[in-house]
């Protein structure tokens, strides 16, 4: 059987997913050990959403992420070392220590600082898309949100205008069933909180299995094509599941164990690994070698970041305005 994607691309996607998993697991450990400052909102279990959506984007395409940004950042090409340095609050961090876990990003690879206000990135993404359209750059914008963001006013205002103005933006809802700890079913009277609403704005929508990286990638390809050819925005709702709590202190006591078991059995990395083996794209040995190499890279990044310099205290008073501006 001829596969739709090249071996190089498939292994590239696996490597990115593996990187996100190892990164998040490492961060989790460092927090539990009390080694790393701050808070964490992890995307473990949602790796297929990030990699499937972003793998085919160009470097200068834009991504607007959320308080759960690590997967999106790594998938789009923010470097492991600069992210790890940011997590430790170091000068060499992607935001020079002024962003932290919830604001990671690097404009040089199209990732604007991630947004810790639920829904806050949605109108900004519309603005970036308008900018691309007015400047005729042919860039596209991928804007992520969780299921909870669909009940924000910003969701309504942004999707309405994006549709009216035919903006090159893709609004991706990673529906992991819980808005922090509250089930989306408790707060929303429709099955698909993002996709079911798209028709209200005259917008195209798709629902895809967010744990199947190839299904996500196929939906992404259609939406990217639509956006780049001037046909306007798309809502993509990805059904997925966190393998961890909402944040550092969340032990997920609100999730039924049967539900967890069902989703954990559909782990995105495991599913993709099975696919690669069954279709003779790769071997256990090769995939293990990738995993091991990445684990070593993550460990090296931790060691580097721990030894890196803190930002000078005087820098706290800089960058309030552009070009280092102080008041």
């Amino acid at each position: 059987m001829k596969l739709e994607h090249s071996k190089k691309k498939l292994l590239g996607m696996y490597e990115r997913m593996s990187l996100i998993r190892k990164y998040e697991e490492c961060i989790y450990f460092l927090f539990l050990e009390g080694i790393m400052p701050g808070s964490i909102h992890q995307s473990t279990g949602q790796e297929a959403c990030a990699v499937g959506m972003l793998y085919d984007l160009k470097t200068d395409d834009y991504v607007a992420s959320t308080h759960r940004p690590a997967g999106h950042c790594l998938a789009k090409g923010v470097t492991l070392q600069s992210m790890m340095c940011e997590m430790f609050g170091k000068e060499e961090g992607c935001c020079h220590g002024k962003g932290g876990a919830m604001h990671t990003g690097d404009i040089n690879v199209g990732v604007i600082p991630s947004n810790a206000i639920v829904g806050g990135n949605l109108p900004i993404a519309a603005g970036i898309a308008l900018s691309c359209k007015l400047q005729k750059t042919n860039q596209v914008v991928v804007c992520f949100m969780g299921d909870g963001a669909t009940n924000e006013g910003a969701f309504h205002e942004s999707l309405n205008a994006a549709a009216v103005w035919k903006l090159p933006v893709i609004y991706v809802c990673e529906n992991n069933l819980y808005s922090a700890t509250t089930s989306i079913k408790m707060t929303t009277n429709i099955d698909n909180p993002a996709a079911d609403r798209a028709c209200a704005y005259g917008m195209e929508s798709e629902i895809a299995d967010g744990n199947d990286v190839l299904a996500v990638n196929a939906a992404a390809a259609r939406a990217i094509k639509r956006a780049r050819s001037g046909k306007g925005p798309t809502v993509i709702e990805l059904k997925t599941y966190r393998r961890v709590g909402h944040s550092r202190n969340d032990a997920c006591g609100y999730r039924p164990s049967k539900e967890q078991d069902l989703w954990f059995a559909r782990d995105p990395l495991m599913l993709f690994r099975d696919y690669l083996l069954k279709n003779d794209v790769s071997t256990e040995k090769t995939l293990d070698a990738i995993d091991n190499r990445i684990e070593q890279e993550v460990e090296a990044a931790v060691e580097y970041a721990q030894n890196a310099d803190e930002p000078p205290e005087s820098s706290a008073l800089l960058d309030i305005f552009w070009k280092g501006g102080q008041i």
Partner: protein
Amino acid sequence: MALIGIADALRTGIMEEMHADETIFCLGEDVDIEGGMGGAFTVTRGLTKEFGPERVINTPISEILISGVAVGAAMTGMRPVADLQYGDFLFCMMDQLVNQAAKMCYMSGGTIKVPMVMRAPCGATNRGAQHAQSFEGFFTHVPGLKVICPSTPYDAKGMIKQAIRDDNPVVVFEHKLLYGGSRKEKDALQTSGEVPETDYTVEFGKAAIRRKGTDLTIVANLLMSYRAQEAAALAEKNGISCEVIDPRSLVPFDYQTMETSVKKTGKLLIVHEDVYTNGWGAQLSAHFAEKCIYDLDAPVMRIATPDTPIPFAPNLENFVIPSKERIYQAIVDLANQ
């Protein structure tokens, strides 16, 4: 040199900048609909004809969107000039202004700039509590925002051009009774003044001395700078010489000009339509208490709108908004201390 009002001066400034820089575009509610008003106060009237609908965008009534689009576009190479009819609607977009626009440069470690202009008509004009507020002080409390309040046609053109060229988010407060132009507001002042047709800007953080004097210093902005000048003229007749200073921009703020004046007069009266508690005058008062107390011959005095919402009934509105008479009385009281 043309004799025009503030609305026309703002429009002239915006148009000159749009001709010079293709990355500038306007957006807002009813910003220029054919047969419409051109925003609520005519500032953007006729821009579509000049620049086309791609650069003059009539938005849905969606303040989160307007501000968010301005932030996103500004981050990626454009210079948006956004308008929302009445400044009170700024509160519908506080997340975008305070959490996004103001923090993006800082959060990104100085790698992203947000050159956007947010225009906001302010001031009480018999429209009730939600189309009336003067809350400049609110925005001076947000690190990362610049806040300006031009009160003359010359400053309006020069400062809107400076705001558009600035690489940071700038909130522009324009007083509804000072616009002049074709939309007649009851009790509006005739602000027409000479505005050069040449390209010029007015630097932020430089106050303007509107009237020279020796006995006491009055710092007042927007409509209050006019009322303060009227009260000062009356005081002059009664032997009290007032220096009236218009700060013009609140962030950055020109403390130097105020300090120099108070060194001479020894007395400071602050007048604003912003409410009393934590209005921008509170910061100025604190500055003098902390840094210049030995230059003062009497305690700083503040005249402001009391801490109330703006009432509708004309007599009540007149009661709460600082009047020429109230300012005059304060001048006399302070002069006698």
